[in-house]
Amino acid sequence: MRNFILRRLLQTIPMLFLASLIIFMLFAKTPGDFIDGNITLTAQRAAELKALYGLDQPLISRYLHWLGNLLQGDLGFSLQYQIPVSQLLNQYIWNSFLLATIAMVLYWGIALAVGIVSAMKPYSLFDHVVSVVIFAAMSFPTFFLCLLLIKWFAVDLHWLPVGGMTNIGSDATGWAWVMQVAAHLVLPVIALVMLQAGSLTRYFRASMLDVVRMDFIRTARAKGLRERTVIFKHALRNALLPIITLLGFELPGLFSGALITEKVFNWPGAGHIHIDSLAARDYPVLMGFTLFLAVLTILGNLIADVLYAWADPRIRVRS
């Protein structure tokens, strides 16, 4: 097992280099740069600024410069925020992480529960009702759903805040702060759960049903094991295997933010800085953030592989 993890870790190094090269070239080759978008500059001033930012340098030297800094742990300096990229990301990604984690725990929990119950009693009334509800929730456009939640719960009923993360002007700390954040979390979390739970539930349900139809389950049932034991001990573990891979992919999503949801609810998350940086061609932020996500993706895959190996001994033996 240790060798397996080590080997997989070593494999990530060339992948990261490749990712950094692709990311850099992709953004550097996108037409327009940080200066181009400013229409108030005279041609002369624009040229001066490009020289100051090093945007007049050849691509390869820009890449090497960036890579050199990167290897020293320096993500660079944001052009439009004028602070180090790491500091900028630090300001926003944890908020995204908080929101996404809570939402994820909830919709994974819901999906798991619904998947199991549906598998125990497929095509029952409960199963049908769940299917209808899931499809209804999934079919809402994000933007519309968010606005609807705001209208009902914030504007009409005054139960919850319209948006933001804390009350404006509040200096609350400790428990009071936690309560404020919790209140501001409710609506975006509901929106995210409604939008995400659907597809995952479908996936879980299908996975469970597949497993339940397998021979070893029939054998287990034939042995006279209780249904509960069959489902939880035998079926669930096998149904989880494909889902572990899915979990690995969720990791970067926890930090990259649910763009529309965060935006509508004014949640100070990372999604919008990514979009803004693209619009402004703020290369250091774009590259830093995308690379961060690339690392998380690779890491997520690694974790998935390890978990998979742990859950399914066949993989360990083969590798």
């Binding site: 996108t30 327009g32 500059l41 005279t42 319209v162 529309i260 509508v264």
Partner: protein, 567 residues
């Protein structure tokens, strides 16, 4: 790149496309009839029912909250990159010279100024006893320091001080001198600025916010501005409010400046709250904000009226939207073709669809609210397809077999670069159809704004649609038609160059008026662009506060010294 408080592209940037298209579709359906009667008047429409003020807002007895879209945390008036940060610095820093609501320059920190008869030397007198918010004195030294920093070779902010042509500035920049010779501190209250050429926009360039030399200049050496970055988040100014705290993505807090030169503002605390166009109305409705900007659409206005407690404020913007011609393309070198393209586009329909009564067709590269606006004798290019066809015939473009005009074996096909924006969403179908009718095949390409600007610079286009940023002086609306600035577009008109120079070199507004009037006539006959529209800006404030009277030159921050909470 900078979003000003009123940039429509920014305001709607977050709304998904499907939603925008739906909006637009309904706009197209209901446009061009009906709205003329109940269009809101410019100026302030007072609240009808002040008892409707939300209870939660009434609880805030000492704080006014205004909405802001995307501040980035660079709270230094010479270093911010986007217009939202400018809205923040305007609260913290007062200017030497301010604008009135027509865009004329009026005294700010400077009590008065005189200009030498040759228009090159400015003597600026500061008000006595000016102080920064920490109580330290503000003197001519601070102003000289501020202008010197702008000439630093490492200065990378948006202000292009070289356009003020201060004597010795370039020498300082290139390291040939240790100070800017054109800046002379006569006494603590008097600064003399010598320039090498007269310029109408010089005073607004040198009359900006003032940085404290004691605070920002500690350890300043030419070529080393890195230390300044560490102060972007800790501004020290002299404006109506003092900066307290910035919570990224959420809010910026201020308290009243006891040392403000116009007296302590009556409201003790002011907060900018980060809002966005999708929910800023709801935040205003629930009382979370006391002031915000909205899109000037009949629906939004109707909703605001229904609230009862909203003082609605409608005012003209100072930018204009346009489609630029690439004169390097042979077909567009002919002024007749360009004129035909203006006659052949139903701009009135476009503006009606997009602004629904809250915008006008642009006739001059300046907004109707400016003192320089005068359309007498300027060709308004009323929609006239017959005239467009006639001009194209005269230019030698004959209608070919498929209805597209041909000349010397070439078809009249034009690419149009646009960025994603509500105006352009309507422009594409309208222009395509209108041009098809006069025998021009239009091929729109939708790209993002930076890509558009980059392709434009590379000359990869026939037509490019974009808007100017907010314009303070008529010179700002025409400088890029000057032949050296328009080199890429290939626009060159000696008469235009001469008039632009003359307009910028004349300081007396009354003498400038006829120059710009003449310039607009010349530009209309040899058009470098298709002028599209001027729009209006909508903002609203809660009836629980008085004193907001924003205009495009001063924004909401110009009102801050007078904003009061009604007891």
């Amino acid at each position: 790149m900078a979003c000003t408080l009123i940039d429509e592209g920014c305001l709607l940037a977050t709304v998904p496309n499907s939603f925008k298209i739906a909006l637009l579709a309904s706009a197209v359906m209901f446009s061009s009839f009906g709205f003329a009667d109940d269009v809101l008047k410019e100026g302030i429409t007072p609240a009808t029912d002040t008892s409707q003020v939300p209870a939660s807002a009434k609880l805030r007895t000492d704080t006014v909250i205004a909405g802001i879209s995307e501040p980035q945390g660079i709270f230094n008036p010479y270093f911010f990159v986007n217009g939202w940060d400018e809205n923040v610095t305007n609260v913290i820093f007062a200017r030497l010279v301010d604008w009135d609501s027509q865009g004329k320059l009026v005294p700010g920190l400077a009590e008065s100024w005189t200009v030498s008869p040759d228009g090159k030397t400015y003597t600026i007198k500061l008000r006595p006893n000016l102080k920064f918010s920490d109580g330290s004195p503000l003197t001519a030294e601070d102003v000289a320091f501020t202008l010197t920093v702008l000439y630093d070779p490492k200065y990378d902010g948006d202000t292009d001080i070289t356009l003020a042509h201060i004597a010795g500035g370039d020498d300082y920049k290139q390291g040939k001198a240790d100070s800017v010779s054109g800046l002379k501190v006569v006494d603590p209250l008097t600064l003399q600025v010598t320039t090498t050429q007269p310029g109408a926009t010089t005073l607004q360039k040198i009359g900006g916010p003032v940085l404290s030399k004691a605070y920002y200049g500690k350890g300043y050496q030419r070529g080393n501005l890195d230390y300044l970055r560490t102060l972007h988040g800790k501004p020290l100014g002299n404006g109506p409010y003092v900066y307290d705290k910035y919570i990224p993505g959420q809010e910026i807090r201020f308290h009243a400046n006891a040392n403000y030169y116009r007296g302590v503002p009556p409201t003790p605390r002011f907060i900018y709250r980060v809002t966005n166009p999708s929910t800023n109305f709801q935040l205003f409705q629930t009382g979370d904000t006391d002031y915000d900007a909205f899109t000037s659409r009949p629906d939004d206005i109707e909703q605001l009226k229904l609230l009862g407690f909203a003082n609605i404020n409608l005012y003209g913007s100072s930018d204009y939207s346009k489609i630029e011609f690439n004169l390097k393309r042979p077909a567009l070198q002919d002024a007749k073709v360009r004129q035909a393209l203006i006659y052949g586009l139903d701009r009135q329909k476009l503006i009606d669809v997009v602004y629904q009564g809250y915008g006008t067709v642009a006739i001059e590269p300046i907004s109707p609210i400016s003192w320089a606006y005068n359309t007498d004798g300027v060709n308004p290019y009323k929609f006239d397809p017959a005239q467009a066809k006639k001009l194209l015939d005269e230019a030698g473009w004959k209608v070919g077999g498929d209805g597209i005009r041909v000349k010397d074996g070439k078809r009249l096909e034009l690419t149009l670069l646009v960025s994603k924006k509500v105006l352009n969403d309507a422009l594409i179908p309208i222009a395509k159809e209108d041009y098809q009718k006069i025998g021009v095949l239009l091929k729109p390409q939708v790209v993002d704004f930076n890509a558009l600007m980059s392709q434009r610079k590379a000359g990869n286009y026939d037509l490019a649609s974009f808007s100017t940023s907010t314009l303070n002086d008529p010179h700002d609306g025409v400088w890029d038609f000057y032949s050296t600035e328009a080199a890429v577009q290939g626009y060159h008109n000696a008469e235009v160059d001469k008039l632009i120079n003359e307009g910028n070199a004349t300081l007396d507004i009354e003498k400038r008026k006829p120059i710009y009037h003449e310039l607009y006539k010349v530009l209309a006959n040899d058009p470098p662009v298709i002028l599209l529209g001027n729009r209006k800006i909508l903002s609203a404030s809660s009836a629980r506060v008085t004193g907001f009277k924003p205009d495009i030159y001063n924004g909401l921050t110009g009102s801050l010294p007078d904003v009061k909470i009604v007891k």
